[in-house]
Amino acid sequence: MSANQTPLYKPPSQFDVLRTPLLGSALRWRYGRLLFQVPLVIVAVLLTIDGFIGPQRASQNLATVGAWVHYRGLVVLVLLLAGNLFCMGCPFTLPRTLAKRLSISGKRFPKVVQNKWLAIGGLFLIFFLYEWLDLWASPLLTAWVIVAYFVASFVLEALFKESVFCKYVCPLGTFNFVHATASPTQIGVHNPDVCRTCVGKECINGSYAAQPIILIDSIGTGGQPDTTHEHNRQGVLGCGTDLFAPQIKSNMDCTLCLDCARACPHNNVGLFARSPLKELTDETAWRRRWDVVFLVAALAFMGITNAFGMVPPVYGLIERMANAFAFLSVWGLPPFAVEGVVLLVIFGTGNLLLPIGLVLAAAWITQRTVSTQDSLREIAATFAPAFVPVGFGVWLSHYLFHFLIGIWTIVPVTQEFFGFRGNYGLLGVPVDSPMLAFVEIGFLLLGFGVSLYIAQQAAIRRYRRQGFIAFLPWALVFLLMMLVALWIMGMPMEMRGTEAFFASAGIEF
């Protein structure tokens, strides 16, 4: 069904965050997004400065502590409890206005890449570089990553019309989009009839005009304009990712910039509370495309491999792989490149081949065991939303572990950044080990349980009496994912560079 044919939609909830006192007004204010962006841009600047000129020890530098401990921990927590607030406050989009002014062509992004394949590639690349370049251990490289984000965002905004970077490229945004499908808030409209008769569709078109324009909303008696509103230089941009507010059923692609709410002349757009399961159990909220299917599945597997990169078995695997690929060194490939090849094979298998293979296998088994004319794509798309909770559980478990054990480390590092003596004596882990284990295992099991529920609901909805059979292969995939994640989380964490494991293969760095 095309966007034009999509029926207008009203979320069932009546609680609109944008209509709460103070907070609602602040968010709807013309510069409301800046309230979030300014603090985050300051943080980004501090991280970048320290990354470039501060001590090059990860534990003593704001860039590494801020990016790899606190940002990651807070982002999953906020996605779970509130919504995609980090895209709302994203500092990388601040140069957007400047980029738009510099934009000469304003072309549309090429049709062939108007999908999630680039985003999958971006996610894979950032997690691969994280392991290969030991980003977690390098303040300098972390600072360069921040700079690269600013540059990429600026260039793509300048070259193309819509917010290409956010919608099709940004790995951080893609991570947020996928997990925001399980968030408790969503953009919607109060009254779809208002949108039906809306003249300007400002939520998507914006209300900015270089020269004032009067729009007539309704004609009164005598043919005179009854109600009007104006587009002018005080207006705001419409939705950067081309979402039409009354048709939004999904948080996928929504950066929560709230430009739609600010642009709406009828005060009809809201940020509604909803059940976190609402979108995951609504088949019509998901695009039934391979890129979307593989995005959610691959991201869930990336959660597992990202955690796998920190436990002892990965080092044994790297050592064996280094021996297997030692011939590359004989052929003259430098050690750094051989290491890249080895890690590429390991993480390419875990992050791409495995999810693709398992999704195809599960879909094929479902197709063979259930009397259905559905294509593999249709079947995979039916069960794709169920990958979100199990993956989200792994990310929550992993990132909250780091966040909780390192939550106070930001204090002395910040003190030292500002030239004071870092007070390390005050540090302490806010939760004890049993509580930490409870949090880790709790999120894993919760994610797994919710995934089973969503898959089961999807199976019954689509395959009725044969639903249980259709559900089984997917349940097996989720069970495997959960068991592997439990095995990883149950092991002692080790964080080591991988160069040492190439020595046994005669490859010296």
Partner: protein
Amino acid sequence: MISRLSTTILLAVMLTLAACRAPRPAQPASDIGVTMSLSVAPNPPQVGNATLVLTIMDEDGQPINDAQVNIRGDMNHAGMQPVLRDSSTGREGDYTIPFEWTMGGDWFIVVTADLPDGLTVEEEFEFTVDGEMMMDNIDMATEEMDMPMTEEASGS
């Protein structure tokens, strides 16, 4: 107008912040001919209690006993609490310091010593700690250091 103002403020703040980091008063020990070496027991290091023995010699090879030694152990990734220890009682240049490897992985130990002549020197040592905790280690730190220890690390 707002854009220009905010850009100016941002640039001013960035330049100010860039000057924030206090200069480090310590200099590398090798710069003034002081030798610092660090050995660890058990060796190879494993998660749990351990004992570090720091040896400080002056440029003539004579032991320095009255230095104020501060040790900071950090993992090579962010988010772990550092392990902080200090000592001021050296014997024949050896400072025996109870320590704890709190997690397996790559560690670096930064030793800062305030020497009797007022100079402050610093040296960094790297270790890789096995993630498997050895239960025998639990009482290690409280025992007398009568076991032979292997030189594990040199300053980097």
